[in-house]
């Protein structure tokens, strides 16, 4: 085989890698991540294929599960327990709440186990460790977009089948949906990275994560509108960074009134902190956790 200088490594740009013990915490290998962007895309693909091979319905599962969940929620919480949906059609209300929540839930669950479940890979080869959780976040984003389409489909279907009954309608905030998705993704990724770092060190956290997520759904306005929280407990919703995002989705897609900019500002602040703490912790652990994991 003739020696062929590769495109990424022309002879005139010398590469120099220095390996030494690092002291800092917030060392972010953006450049490495960009260099390995092909890997990120292939990991997304891997995630997708492994999820849906040998299934009959394939990606349809991303459509079916939230729809059925919404139907069950509408029956249990709407009919049986009589939880208010602020006048929004229950199907749309729950489907919209689940849209955001599912993305958060799936991304956090997937990323929170990164270090542990990829031990075999991380102990044999080097690549920017962030590539794996970033790919997971993006692959879940694509699932969330499928669910957004599902929501739109159900919306149109209900408007046609129940003419005049559906009062809800999208607002100008729809334009902010990309921001909401990115925000939610960053929050889930950041939290997932923190939990991943803890799980790598203390196995206790693998039990904690699903548990926290379960409880968090009940303190987040997924199955009820934020307006139904009594005034004296409203602060709980305010400090929960997920709530304003779920309400944001509803305000954008259904025109509800539960979105408050002040809550959103706090959520943004928390997200930025969580995101960077997560990246710092994760990379700190990824540097040598193979020695003791």
């Amino acid at each position: 085989m003739p020696p062929s200088p590769t495109a990424s490594n022309p002879p005139h740009t010398p590469i120099e890698i220095r390996i030494r013990p690092r002291a800092g915490w917030l060392w972010l290998d953006w450049r490495g991540l960009v260099e390995y962007r092909d890997l990120v895309f292939l990991l997304i693909r891997r995630d997708f294929v492994s999820k849906y091979t040998q299934t009959i319905l394939g990606p349809l599962w991303a459509v079916i599960t939230p729809v059925i969940t919404a139907v069950v929620f509408a029956t249990v919480f709407g009919r049986v327990l009589g939880v208010s949906t602020d006048g929004v059609h229950p199907q749309l209300f729950y489907l919209c709440g689940l849209l955001g929540w599912n993305y958060f839930n799936m991304t956090l669950s997937a990323t929170s186990n990164t270090l542990r479940s990829n031990y075999g890979l991380f102990s044999k080869v080097y690549f920017p460790r962030l590539a794996v959780p970033v790919a997971l976040t993006l692959s879940n984003l694509s699932t969330a977009l499928v669910q957004l389409l599902t929501f739109s489909g159900v919306f149109v279907f209900l408007v046609i089948t129940h003419p005049g009954e559906i009062a809800a309608q999208p607002t100008w905030m729809v334009l902010a949906l990309p921001v909401l998705f990115i925000h939610l993704g960053a929050l889930a990724l950041g939290t997932g990275l923190i939990l991943s770092a803890f799980t790598a060190k203390y196995r206790d956290f693998q039990h904690v994560t699903p548990f926290i997520l379960n409880l968090l759904m009940y303190v987040t306005p997924v199955i009820y509108p934020i307006s139904k929280i009594p005034e004296k407990w409203r602060w709980v919703a305010a400090i929960n960074p997920v709530s304003p995002l779920i309400e944001g989705f509803r305000a954008a897609l259904l025109g509800t009134q539960g979105f408050h900019l002040s809550y959103y500002g706090l959520s943004l602040l928390i997200t930025v902190v969580v995101f960077f703490v997560g990246i710092g912790l994760y990379q700190r652990l990824a540097r040598d956790y193979v020695d003791y994991a």
Partner: protein, 419 residues
């Protein structure tokens, strides 16, 4: 002379022993609370030196571009740790490494292969994990498939591959990396003999042809001898030295010789309930302390302790390949002569004018008995390496493998037109 492509300065790596890492959250938080209150930590009963272990201590060396360097040493000498740090899998505790070029490390073949993905997808995924760009992989795709001999199955999920196909595909991807520095662990110890030869050939091509720098860890001195000009010898986490390959292998052999070529077999486990009561093999050694060499004289000496007289006895040794097939047996009564052994200690030596085993590693089994009755059988008492012989090295390079014995050759030229 350009700058060295790899520079290692004062590299050290410390591991914590004991329950570190398995500590629960409670213990850790207690430790933190004590630290916050300014109290001394609780669990420092053992002095720190007993709870830590230096896998590498103050290693320094440099390697020039285009060199192929072996890293050898006994188990626990620090080879794997050194590779892990060079591959950026873990961090050093102290010291620094400068790598001037693109690095790819192969500590395992098929890292990141996903069973559900097709061969095609796995080539791309594995290539990307090893640091190749999509476009690079695409341009070498056909070569890789050709090398792996799996074209027919390229769109089949690899979980349906035979293990041989799987390994071949995995190695094919790795073999087509084009880094400036290639770091290879003993991954060549996979696959059948023929495929191993192909892999070694490819390694030679990479290093000789393309002028890449290769770092190669192996226990197989045969491979080291074929691939490397110089070797780094590690001993107990420290640098023993950097020597030309032959000299390094001598150091290595001296280092392990006491345990490998000369064995105290008194207390090894016995096979098949053979007791070793009447007669027992207590020591087995090669008479040439430098080792066993293909095509050169070889003598194996057995020391036997006899309790009650044993007449018509035989002593034998058998060699199995790594894959487990028996390839050669030597027994003292093959020529029809048996041994009469009176109580006491005896030595019996089996000598061959020319060792027919081709270079490689063999599991050795030994036995003493009489007719069909076996008094003492020791399975797997050693893993002996047969090294290439001195003069006729091409014979081992040609490598028909197996057991090469002389035969009586007759030759006759047939007249034209004969059937």
């Amino acid at each position: 002379m350009s700058a060295p492509i790899i520079e290692v300065n004062g590299l050290s790596k410390r591991y914590q022993l004991g329950h570190f890492g398995m500590s629960s959250f409670r213990e850790e938080s207690e430790k933190w609370m004590r630290r916050l209150r300014g109290k001394p930590p609780l669990d420092d009963r053992a002095p720190p030196t007993e709870r830590e272990f230096w896998a590498l201590r103050d290693i320094s060396f440099s390697i020039n571009p285009g060199e192929v360097v072996g890293i050898i040493g006994r188990n626990g000498a620090g080879k794997s740790t050194l590779l892990k740090i060079l591959s950026r899998i873990t961090e050093p505790t102290a010291g620094e490494i400068v790598l001037r070029g693109r690095v790819a490390s192969l500590l395992e073949v098929g890292t990141g292969f996903h069973p559900e993905l097709s061969g095609r997808d796995n080539i791309f995924l594995n290539g990307a994990i090893l640091g190749m760009k999509r476009s690079e992989i695409a341009s070498k795709f056909d070569e890789i498939v050709e090398f792996a001999e799996v074209r027919k199955f390229i769109d089949t999920p690899v979980k349906r591959y035979s293990s041989g196909m799987y390994v071949k595909l995995a190695f094919a991807v790795a073999a087509h990396l084009e880094p400036d520095i290639l770091i290879v662990d003993e991954v060549l110890a996979v696959g059948d003999m023929q495929f191993q030869q192909k892999c070694i050939g490819r390694m030679q091509e990479i290093s000789r042809g393309d002028g890449r720098t290769v770092l190669f860890v192996s226990h197989a001195m045969t491979t080291i001898r074929r691939l490397c000009k110089t070797c780094i010898v590690l001993q107990g986490g420290r640098l023993h030295g950097i020597y030309p390959a032959e000299e390094a292998i001598d150091h290595y052999n001296q280092n392990v010789g006491g345990t490998v070529l000369d064995l105290d077999t008194e207390n090894l486990p016995r096979a098949w309930g053979s007791t070793g009561e009447q007669a027992r093999l207590v020591r087995i050694r090669t008479v040439n302390t430098r080792g066993l060499f293909f095509g050169e004289p070889a003598s194996i000496e057995f020391t036997i302790r006899v309790r009650t007289a044993l007449t018509g006895a035989m002593v034998g040794i058998a060699f199995n390949t790594i894959e487990g097939g028996r390839i050669m047996t030597l027994d003292s009564d093959a020529s029809g002569d048996t041994l009469d052994l009176q109580p006491g200690l005896h030595t019996v030596t089996l000598a061959l004018p020319s060792l027919p085993l081709s270079p490689g590693r063999y599991y050795c089994h030994a036995a003493i008995g009489r007719g069909r009755h076996m008094c003492d059988i020791i399975d797997n008492f050693a893993l002996w390496e047969v090294a290439p012989g001195g003069q006729n090295d091409w014979e081992s390079d040609r490598s028909f493998g197996g057991c090469r014995v002389r035969s009586l050759v007759t030759h006759e030229s047939l007249p034209p037109g004969a059937q």
